[in-house]
Subunit: 162 residues, 2 copies
Amino acid sequence: MILKSQVEWALHCCAILAGLPQGRYLSTKALAELHGLPKEYLSKALQSLSQASLVETTLGPSGGYRLARPTSEINFLDIVEAVEGKSRTFTCSNIRANNPCRPKDFCDSKPCSVARVMWQADEAWRNTLKSVSLADLVETLSEDVPADIWKNTFEWVLQRAG
Amino acid sequence: MILKSQVEWALHCCAILAGLPQGRYLSTKALAELHGLPKEYLSKALQSLSQASLVETTLGPSGGYRLARPTSEINFLDIVEAVEGKSRTFTCSNIRANNPCRPKDFCDSKPCSVARVMWQADEAWRNTLKSVSLADLVETLSEDVPADIWKNTFEWVLQRAG
DNA sequence: CTTATTAAGGACAATATATATCCGCAAATG
DNA sequence: CATTTGCGGATATATATTGTCCTTAATAAG
């Protein structure tokens, strides 16, 4: 079990969008070049963000993507689920029902005990992701990334945004 | 991202092994028939458990698998990691290093901020799995599964264990 | 000792998913 | 009008998952 690389891409792209001046759009092309990613395929990840209403888009020159909500109102889980889907990481195929000792018409009152534990772990994972917002990420990044690199990066992308 | 079906299989098999009388072995064949699973492929999952030293095996008639430790000393994480491997569910390909604004010889002091959050969530998932033992599972199962079905099931598998 | 049974593991095939690439369309910009 | 852009469909490739088949060596039972 491993997350798609698109999850990593989407998170980094959102981090950049989160640091953009109000209202500015950034194109797939700029985001792909900044991160050294295949433009056409990155586009699919950005489309997922768009379908999840995490970003807004506009067409034409100087078009592209911008966040649809304040950075404090978008969290990691929003982004991960936009790309990976919302379904749980553990699927119960209810193999207990194959037990030959069960009456054929027997109906379980609860979900499988094994699944309940796996789903509880899944929720713990999601809750952690939910607890970190893009605002938190930007704050951490500005501590980690040297100020001049950070500044140059935004000048670089804004130049490509026309 | 989704866990292998072998994880579900391994967990259910361990639950059965956990309820077995001391010292008794159960064969792949019996476990496969009980759960309605492909014997040859289930065998791979059981081999994973064996390689992780969670179960002991013996050959020949009346051979098979039994738990290598008391049920209180085997938890969900042990089993999940035996099948899925121990590597994290999020891999950081360090795409920040592709940023053209970074000096080429620049060396990061910390892991990527994005990865740190993802790994934190991964740990929350693992901690939950670690907190539930096979003993806990057996207890839950005996509450959920009607006593007669539970009893019949063990008579059924023990009969096939010779 | 002989025979049946078993786990282990290698080779292989089938299927599903992830990772791309390419193209045409419609909307926006200037 | 010409260019740029997001969007979605079609298609191709690579990798992972799921499943089968076979051989080998060890073990237990008769």
